[in-house]
Amino acid sequence: MTAIETTDLTKRFGDDVLAVESLDLTVEEGEIFGFLGPNGAGKSTTINLLLDFIRPSEGSATVLGYDAQRETQAIRDRVGVLPEGATLYDRLTAREHVEWVAETKGVDDDPDAILDRVGLDEDDRQRRAGGYSKGMGQRLGLGMALVGDPDLLVLDEPSSGLDPNGIQEMRELIREEAERGTTVFFSSHILPQVEAVCDRVGIMNAGRLVAEDTIAGLRESAGGQSEVSATVETVPEDLDLTAVSGVEDATVDGSTITAVCSTPSAKMAALEHVHERTPVLDIHSEDASLEDLFNRYTGDEVEQPDSSEAESAEVVA
């Protein structure tokens, strides 16, 4: 069974704002799906459509096999949601929030066990949420999503407001949940947070799904490129870096030489090539291929998603 399936899902706001356009998205049961795209790409609108916060202009969606518009109660019974940009109830404590969700879902989860899992301190649980930091609120929101052991977790920008430590904990929690068989669907506008945990990703841009693939698949279509740069005192005349096997392109910017390599092992060869000719003062290496790809998919120059294949081919060539 599929956890989420949208068919030709379209949402217009007014006459001229097309937030989501003919979206066909499939999230399989049990997978961790990263829903990517820059701010305003239509990620939250899609999530709001799935949760019946807003109604589609055209098309339809199912969540866990239930119609997103007509069978909302069945969906809400089985889904845990961390909404984006939602404030908590200022006058209720963390424990009261979790108890309320448990009562509404008709389950008898232990609030403390859940708040332990999301790492909200014992003292903070007794306090009213009005005084929480963004990160604490995000932890509590995640805790509320975990109540009732849902079959599907929908997390909208779960790492916003979290410090690096919190982001790491969030990732572990997502993995734990996935191991328990929970499908996790989460959105993010930051790629590195996604590639570490996701089985598959979908990339949204300007209301359209411009890519849907595994991380490995995306890497492949990115050409598996990586870059290495060396800062030198003087750039030698007879550099000719592209003569090195595996180096596809070389650029010089002031005293920095950058080599684009088709394989990671070519990076060292390129560095040695430079170092034989001039002393290297500093080096910098990055595996930016996926990020580049993401930027290409979501950048302004990609107006037609159909042309993205042609573009990536161009870069590889």
């Binding site: 809400r76 949601v81 909404p83 939602a86 109830y89 309320w100 509404t104 008709g106």
Partner: protein, 277 residues
């Protein structure tokens, strides 16, 4: 049962709001003041205090109820917490009717508290409690309060932001508690007279004017007080057998019932279709 969960959670949340305690406290303070000062008269009569309290209610209850409920839904939409509410098994109807129940319980609690303080003072300082009249007055004030809570929740369900809901609540108060019930040419009756008598030359029956005036919950409540006090008490006219049914005090209860049901229904129908973005 998610309706009960909405009610319980909302009640727990909103009873901690300081503004409400403040407004409710003032009403209780007035009650204590009225009942105490009244008892120092030569011949203290609790009916006088009940009369004063039920008159004060015309101004006070709408304020308490509107303040207590205008943010019930619009406030959650503005802050986004409504997404938590609707992410778990709550129907939109649970939200509208649950909010009404919790806010109504809160406002009614404040009213009972105020009159309770009055009752204690009465038992201590007055020759008679006049229990039957006392109970009827409290019941009518509570019923009146329900109408305003329903209006406020209805407005709140139809608006997406705090400011719009506030504008709606103030606008409603101004139209139905000020314009509607005052006697000048700027009232609704004045407007009707202008249209029908001055412009169209059609004479308006006095009963028609009275009925139109009674469509305001405040007037309907005021007219319904005839059910609580003895015939002929104060400004209350003696029963007139020629009064048409739609001006009978019992019918005023029907008008108030409509003010409970219709705003909630309108609010629900609007909120049911609303985009929560």
């Amino acid at each position: 049962m998610s309706l009960a969960a909405v009610v319980r959670k909302d009640f727990r949340d909103v009873r901690r709001a300081k503004l409400l305690w403040f407004v409710g406290g003032i009403y209780t303070l007035f009650a204590v003041l009225f009942f105490y000062v009244g008892s120092t008269n030569e011949n203290p009569d609790v009916l006088v205090q009940l009369w004063n309290m039920s008159g004060l209610a015309i101004l006070f209850i709408p304020l308490v109820a509107l303040v207590a409920a205008y943010l019930a839904i619009a406030g959650e939409r503005e802050s986004g917490s409504i997404k938590y509410l609707l992410s778990i098994p709550n129907r939109r109807s649970d939200v509208v009717f649950g909010k009404f129940l919790s806010r109504a319980a809160l406002v009614c609690g404040a009213i009972v508290l105020a009159f309770g303080a009055g009752a204690v003072l009465t038992a201590a300082l007055y020759p008679a409690l006049e229990f039957a009249t006392f109970t009827r007055v409290v019941a009518l004030v509570l019923y009146f309060a329900l109408a305003y809570v329903a209006v406020a929740v209805g407005i709140s369900a139809m608006t997406a932001t705090r400011s719009r809901s506030m504008a709606g609540a103030i606008g409603y108060f101004f139209v139905f508690n000020v314009l509607w019930i005052q006697g000048s040419a700027f009232s609704v009756v004045g407007a009707l007279r202008f249209v029908f008598e001055d412009t169209l030359g059609i004479e308006l029956a006095q009963n028609t004017e009275l009925f139109v005036q009674s469509l305001s919950p405040a007037t309907a409540y005021l007219q319904s007080l005839r059910l609580a006090f003895p015939d002929g008490y104060r400004d209350i006219p003696p029963a007139d057998p020629s009064t048409p049914f739609y001006l009978q005090p019992e019918f005023m209860l029907v008008i108030l019932a409509a003010w409970i049901v219709l705003p909630l229904l309108a609010g629900f129908l609007s909120f049911r279709r609303a985009d929560i973005g």
